[in-house]
């Protein structure tokens, strides 16, 4: 993966072996660009990917990724499995608890089948499942946090059964109040790696769009026992990617 944007601060901070990555963002500093980067890396590295899109339609991702030099339409035929759940949000009217749960079981079944197929094929490389975003998943579940957590737990079990990693995007500022913190807290617990996008703490700047803090919990990774666990750096989002740099290292 070195040639595909490797060597930057983000991939250095993420290191190898993180199975569950949670990207937290807020309204002032959207973290969708991290998701785009990770999607591009997953596809460029030769592995497969599944994208559960609730926030945007396919054409949006296609356009953004095309600027970054990755043709999603081309990949969609082979390695990218795009689940358009945007429609699920719109058409889901009043549904009862069982119906919601059933639709999530269905969704999980589809994902599992896709992964099975991916594993069975010659393409036995790493598989990445992305969810954009978990907050909307909760909306799709009519606010039933338990169903979402069950679904996410089942996704997590896939990481130990198959060679797969997960990337979840969640808007943390929605959960700032005490009673709504359940989903965010649970997600932080199951995460191996938390990437948090936030506006610049020192105020606005023209050439810095915000800061990322990466916390690498990786409990069971044996490769780098003494490795740095917490990273802080600034980012600048560009049309064809993003720059990551330490504070003060750029003018």
């Amino acid at each position: 993966m070195e040639e595909y944007g490797g060597g930057d601060l983000l991939s250095e901070a993420m290191g190898p072996g993180a199975r569950v990555v949670v990207v937290e963002d807020r309204v002032e500093a959207p973290g969708a660009f991290v998701l785009h980067l990770l999607l591009k890396r997953a596809l460029a590295g030769g592995g497969g990917a599944a994208l559960l899109a609730l926030a945007q339609p396919f054409s949006h991702y296609d356009r953004v990724l095309r600027k970054m030099g990755c043709n999603l339409s081309l990949h969609r035929k082979s390695r990218l499995h795009f689940f358009d759940l945007f429609a699920l949000l719109l058409c889901s009217g009043v549904a009862k608890g069982d119906a919601i749960s059933d639709s999530f079981v269905q969704l999980y079944g589809d994902i599992q089948r896709v992964m099975d197929a991916n594993r069975a094929g010659d393409n036995a490389d790493r598989f990445t499942l992305m969810i954009d975003d978990v907050s909307l998943l909760e909306v799709a579940a009519h606010g039933s946090v338990d169903v979402v957590l069950d679904f996410l737990h089942y996704c997590v079990t896939l990481t130990s059964e198959m060679n797969c990693s997960l990337v979840f995007l969640i808007h943390e500022d929605i959960y700032s109040s005490e009673e709504g913190a359940g989903l965010l807290m649970h997600l932080r617990y199951i995460a191996d790696l938390v990437i948090r996008a936030a506006p610049l703490s020192t105020g606005l700047a023209t050439d810095v769009h915000g800061q990322l803090s990466v916390v690498n919990k990786c409990v069971f990774s044996e490769q780098r026992p003494k490795a740095q666990r917490i990273w802080n750096f600034h980012f600048r989002v560009k049309e064809n990617g993003a720059d990551f740099f330490y504070a003060g290292s750029r003018h």
Binding site: G109, R113, D150, S160, E161, Y189, S213, I230
Partner: protein, 382 residues
């Protein structure tokens, strides 16, 4: 692990008592370390059982948060061989398919040749597919424990990892009864569980702590007192929290006494170490002693010299009984001792060769109380 805790879990229950129970509580900051501590505990109990040093013949792990493979891997690295693992560790897998979705999906697509992802070929791992049914969970856990080999009464330990995941599917009261049923079951030697206390209201973790004999809580080694975690900023100084944590243990004795222990938990790679720390009271004493430049301590000689000093009131008697005139004593009593009667005293003074300035006081009458509250000046007409 603090030795005392490991010893309690190893020694198990006494006849006519409930099994010792340990709750390990942690928060999000310490969750990686708490997971490690839990694995370490499980490995310690399992290896005691394998070596035949414990009351328990084996360990049943009710796994919610981590896949069984994680436990087995960890124990293998701790030097337990496959044979010992098969013999002494049974895992009830509530992680792979907790509410039966995978089963449901497989039954739907039975015509296709789908492989059972959770079907393990391991004899000591059993997948449990309905965690909402706590009673069934209890039965399955105990059944799994009965499978350990041995003669006579077979005891076993139980680890629940974690209660927080159970709470997502079951009520507090049903889990409380699950835990108390386990504790009071006569085949259970000890029980320990992990709870993420910040996922629930404080009263929930308290409710479960009431059922324990030991409570261990992990707290971050470094606390950011200026910023809350929510405020983005430079959090690099919290790095240390990912390699060590404070480990507080409360041991409840049978007579109700509570003992506090404080240790530090260090994690390096696969290694988990507990470093004992000075107890809280010694720490307080040390920090409260004033830092002065002169010596407050006495040497041994100074101490003995001090003991030999005769204090001013001590040489009055010179071996004889001390008699101090007490005017309150009634006269007839005093008359027996001629030296101390008023007349004798008055007579003797002029006779003495070296007259000293002495004041002798003779009370006017016995009517007046020696310590009368009466104002002495009240007869002055001012």
């Amino acid at each position: 692990m603090s030795e005392a805790v490991a010893r309690c879990l190893r020694d198990g229950r006494l006849d006519g008592e409930h099994a010792p129970a340990l709750a390990v509580g942690s928060t999000l900051r310490c969750s990686p370390l708490a997971a490690r501590a839990m694995l370490h505990l499980a490995a310690a109990v399992a290896s005691h059982a394998a070596a035949g040093k414990a009351q328990a013949r084996g360990l049943v792990i009710v796994a919610f948060d981590r896949s069984p493979e994680v436990y087995l891997d960890f124990m293998r690295r701790r030097g337990l061989d496959q044979n010992a693992l098969n013999r002494c560790v049974h895992i009830l897998d509530c992680y792979s398919d907790p509410i039966g979705w995978k089963e449901k999906i497989r039954s739907q697509q039975q015509h296709e040749s789908s492989v059972d992802l959770c079907a393990t070929n391991k004899a000591n791992v059993i997948v449990f597919r309905n965690v909402k049914d706590v009673d069934k969970l209890l039965c399955s856990s105990i059944d799994l424990g009965r499978g350990f080999e041995g003669t006579g009464k077979i005891c076993f330990s139980i680890a629940v990892d974690s209660i927080s995941s159970m709470l997502r599917h079951a009520s507090v009261s049903s889990i409380s009864s699950f835990l108390s049923n386990l504790r009071s079951h006569d085949q259970i030697s000890s029980i320990f569980w992990l709870i993420h206390s910040d996922l629930h209201e404080p009263k929930f973790s308290r409710a479960f702590e009431c059922l324990t004999t030991m409570v261990a809580s992990l707290e971050p080694a470094v606390v950011d007192s200026v910023h809350e975690e929510e405020i983005p900023g430079d959090v690099s100084f919290l790095e240390e929290n990912y390699s060590k944590a404070k480990f507080y243990v409360r041991l409840k004795r049978r007579n109700g006494r509570v003992k506090h222990l404080y240790e530090e938990l260090h994690v390096e790679g696969n290694e988990v170490r507990f470093v004992s720390m000075p107890s809280v009271s010694t720490e307080v004493n040390q920090s409260l002693l004033p830092k002065v430049q002169f010596n407050l301590e006495l040497s041994e000689k100074e101490r003995s010299d001090r003991a030999n000093v005769v204090l001013p009131f001590e040489h009055q008697g010179k071996g004889e009984p001390i008699r101090i005139y007490d005017g309150r004593r009634s006269l007839p009593e005093d008359q027996r001792d001629p030296n101390l009667t008023a007349s004798a005293l008055l007579d003797e003074v002029p006779k003495s060769a070296t007259p000293k300035g002495e004041i002798h006081y003779i009370r006017d009458s016995d009517d007046e109380q020696p310590d009368s509250d009466e104002d002495p000046d009240d007869d002055l007409d001012i």
